[in-house]
Homo-oligomer: 592 residues x 2
């Protein structure tokens, strides 16, 4: 059985040494001093380790069961959900007027991480509810907010997002679910939605479905899509629950992982729905939530890798097998622990340097979202909009890769379900797919975000990298280990952007054939930037005479690993990109 401990020191390091949150001019940030965030994270870590983690294997083994239209969640889930609710974890960053704590999003994100690591499938119930809260908060009417938000913020009720249909996922313009006006301001919603996470379950009194549908007679395609609230039980004016609405679960899917979360086929049969925002502007409402939702999925990627990594380290220290090539290190034991072997080290350092870099990037992203929302900072909004597909696509690809790498440390035991490492890989796999498959993230990045607002945001990103390098040029300790490789990687990224400019305008396939490589390349540059900044912060802490020397020295050494061993990937991605679409598009479809 795996174990899990929240990486509180690492989270604190990112919040304070790197982002210096309490010094930022963002409303609410002044309260985020070290003691406060530490207390919150300690508590979150306790819930994660003591309440959620023990249920991770249970959820995987039992899964959810559909019987007579009712979905039974795994043993212990309901009690744990009550505990999470009572702890106030569900509405940490929601407005106080609706029962939340009004804390910054960056605090919510940091507190979420250990819970996602401990039990990803479980945490999705509150994660999706959080998405529903955002949709209603930004686009709902005052009456809708009053009716739904307090219950959703507390997770007394949970929420869902209904986009996908059997024949359309990415291409929502093909949607068939229909909305017909009832004459009383409400609509009758009819259609089938699939892959609806937490679509039905037994942990909340009501479920508020957010459903995309087409109002009859509206524009064709994606421009005719509207967003509706469809409650499982109607809500009376006094807030009490009324009749059962015409929505039901048709089936729950058997999946590769996240068994603890019910993935439902939802059937809407003239269900009563209430328009959110304007008619035909449903996609706009979706896009508002997208940065947050995708950042959350990017977090799932590295959070699974973190949990898997912790166990791989424990196993590598525990498992005795062979001797160090340089001579027995523990001659008193039957063999040395496998952590002495360089290839096991390489594997663990790959995992560690990725996870810590991704954590920094994700929390920086959360900080940018706060700055965009609370300070109405358009530059921050543009930057996070650029970074979002990278955080989602790169981090979930790598998160799965490294969860699998952690499994590999266990040898044969990694393949046996009892040891728990397979679950991390199987659970992490979904993050590459949902909330926009990673190929779509790459398309979004190269096809939309690079050119957005005249390329302003990507230029701002490059400027940020450039000025960090320039500002620290005199720092000899940073130069060769961090600034030089960052500069080289960033040069590769710029060259790729230049290739797209020169070759992608006339022949868009030349850019799109390189989109996936570009996404990964940019991921490496982002993590390179994070590591350079973290190394600088760690050096400052050491210079200031910190008592925790080993921690900060380990940070620097881990960063140096990333710079020397991971950043060389950018040259490979550039070489691929520079070959354009020719070999990618060479075959007739029939010849595959």
């Amino acid at each position: 059985m795996p174990s899990f401990t929240a990486p509180i020191k690492d989270l604190q390091f990112v919040l304070h040494d790197l982002l210096k949150v309490s010094e930022q001019d963002i409303p609410g940030y002044a309260d985020l001093d070290r003691d406060f965030t530490s207390a919150v994270l300690e508590e979150a870590g306790k819930v994660a380790s003591e309440v959620l983690h023990p249920l991770n294997a249970v959820g995987d083994r039992e899964g959810c069961v559909l019987e007579n239209g009712i979905v039974r969640t795994p043993t212990g889930f309901k009690a744990a959900f009550d505990a999470v609710r009572e702890g106030g974890w569900t509405g940490m960053d929601c407005p106080e007027e609706f029962g939340g704590q009004g804390l910054p999003y960056v605090m919510h994100t940091a507190a979420q991480e250990p819970m996602v690591s401990a039990n990803m499938a479980f945490n999705m119930y509150q994660g999706l509810t959080h998405g529903a809260v955002s949709a209603i908060l930004f686009h709902g009417s005052d009456a809708q907010k009053a009716t739904y938000l307090p219950k959703l913020v507390s997770c007394e009720w949970t929420g869902t997002m209904n986009l996908t249909e059997p024949h359309c996922g990415t291409d929502l313009g093909m949607m068939r679910t229909k909305a017909v006006p009832n004459g009383d301001g409400s609509f009758a919603i009819t259609g089938q939605k699939i892959f609806i996470s937490a679509g039905e379950h037994d942990m909340a009194d009501n479920i508020i479905h957010l459903v995309l549908a087409k109002i009859q007679g509206g524009p064709e395609g994606i421009k005719g899509v509207s967003l509706f609230i469809v409650p499982k039980y109607m809500v009376n004016e006094d807030g009490s629950m009324g009749a059962r609405n015409g929505v039901s679960v048709g089936k729950i899917e058997e999946k590769m992982g996240i068994h603890g979360n019910a993935t439902c086929v939802m059937n809407y049969d003239g269900a009563t729905g209430f328009l959110v925002g304007e008619e035909h502007k449903g996609m706009r409402a979706m896009f508002t939530m997208m940065n947050e939702a995708r950042l959350g999925v990017g977090l799932q990627g590295y959070a699974q890798a973190e949990a898997a990594y912790q166990n791989a380290v424990a196993y590598a220290n525990d498992r005795l097998q062979g001797r160090a090539v340089t001579g027995a290190m523990y001659p008193e034991k039957a063999a040395d622990p496998i952590i002495v072997h360089p290839d096991i080290r390489r594997n663990l350092m790959d995992q560690k340097s990725f996870v810590e870099g991704a954590r920094a990037l994700t929390l920086w992203g959360a900080y940018l979202i706060d700055r965009a929302h609370k300070n109405k900072d358009a530059a921050a909004d543009g930057l996070i909009s650029l970074l979002t597909p990278v955080i989602k696509g790169f981090q979930t690809d790598k998160g799965f890769e490294y969860a699998t790498a952690a499994q590999q440390v266990y040898g044969g035991h990694g393949y046996i379900e009892e040891w728990g490492m397979s679950q991390y890989a199987r659970d992490a796999r979904i993050a590459m797919i949902y909330e926009g498959a990673n190929g779509i993230q790459a398309l979004d990045l190269v096809g939309r975000k690079l050119a957005q607002d005249g390329g302003k945001h990507v230029m701002a990103f490059f400027d940020l990298v450039k000025s960090f390098i320039k500002d620290n040029e005199g720092n000899a300790a940073l130069k060769s280990g961090f600034l030089d490789p960052l500069k080289a990687a960033s040069k590769d990224l710029q060259a790729a952007g230049m290739y797209f400019m020169q070759n992608g305008m006339k022949t868009p396939n030349n850019a799109l054939a390189g989109s996936y490589d570009f996404m990964h390349m940019m991921g490496h540059v982002c993590l390179g930037l994070m590591w350079a900044q973290m190394a600088k912060a760690a050096m400052e802490a050491l210079d200031a005479g910190t008592e925790d020397k080993a921690f900060y020295e380990t940070k620097i050494a881990t960063g140096r690993y990333y710079m020397t061993r991971q950043l060389p990937a950018t040259a490979m991605h550039l070489a691929r990109i520079n070959t354009g679409a020719e070999t990618v598009m060479a075959l007739e479809a029939a010849n595959f």
Copy 2:
């Protein structure tokens, strides 16, 4: 539900256009003309598609069940195993005197591929039996051969390999299973073995376990390990079956995949065992089989990717979603099939170019094994010994990566078990672990094989690449697309070898920290060589006026993709290797 068609044309291309098997001076090869191999492969393909493939999902869903000491295989497995036996597929390359067909190993390997693609878990029952046959054939006494081989060759009985124990896998010197002489020439075997594939099942009358154990009083460690035959039922002198032996299944494991194969804990309780070969020379017997066994696992890697690829192509042609960026290609349809999108192409070309390259490398490896055995060719033996860890390690890593990539093409449907793509990924995952985890393959390659016989074999490999390039320099069609990238990649590989020579002698960690990268780098160079040779063969077929122009042109285009998009990885691996052990070994174990 996935479908599967044996890639007979591609197999024929490798056997005849590339390897020109019927022209080789290896005993038995003259019979391998196009018509003969085509007939064999057609039949193998039929068994694969019609008998084995329909049971692939059944095996995954039902798994094996242990009840009262008896393991029940999934519905239909027994009848299918009978069909495979009756078709004579189990002993194709075994000596005729023991009931085999005496065909070359390369023919056996080619015929196995579709069966492994169609149902990997099922095929392991015969695969392990094949390993037992080899062990007895090369190391058993005449009496042992007469007693066991006819029944094993026909798969009336099946075989197993028992190496691993709970506390030792890689480091078999720590083995505890004991062999005590019974005084009558036999031994009493006592101990526990784990991860025993096909350890117990209901498809054969008897199971012949090959068990590593230590004879009491023998040398310490790995030098005291001997190999024993331990039959489930004793075999009487007249060949009839006698008493039940003291071996039993303790448990079957729940695994991430290959559910159709029973992975058993085997308990030996004073079981009667018969020494194979000399006392304390058990590892030598194991090593004899290793090239074959590891090549077989390398085949599993790409064979799963092949099966997954076929379905990804079908889905990409079928699924309508979005429009080509260059304008609708099928305006009459609701949307274009997703195969029009460059990033889907990139993904499919990655898969296709890997699978076809790996097939060539694997069959070349099988050819080298034939040449080594049948022609007593020491150079071929040295070369396959060098290539074996690459075939096993690189191909199983990539096989899993691309089975996962094929799953990705399906979007959300790829995550749903019903669609079958998850199984390919889950099944492929084990190939990276068993038969020596891939980190061990990298260690074998860099720590042993590079320096073997004074580095003769790796020099021979480089010479082979060099002379291919030199011999074809005048071929303008090959030069820029194939020879130049191959030359660059091979130069990177040589530079890495040079780095190891200069830095790994004094400080072995400098070499071992780069071992995994070297294994992948060499995998790319091998596939680059295969593609250059295949492109040449395809060009020759086109020059000769083949009727199947599209097939050969597709080969060349697929090869060009590999050279432009995959070979740039070698520079990245070299850059990592050149940083040595410093950042890899920087941390104290406690600081991970």
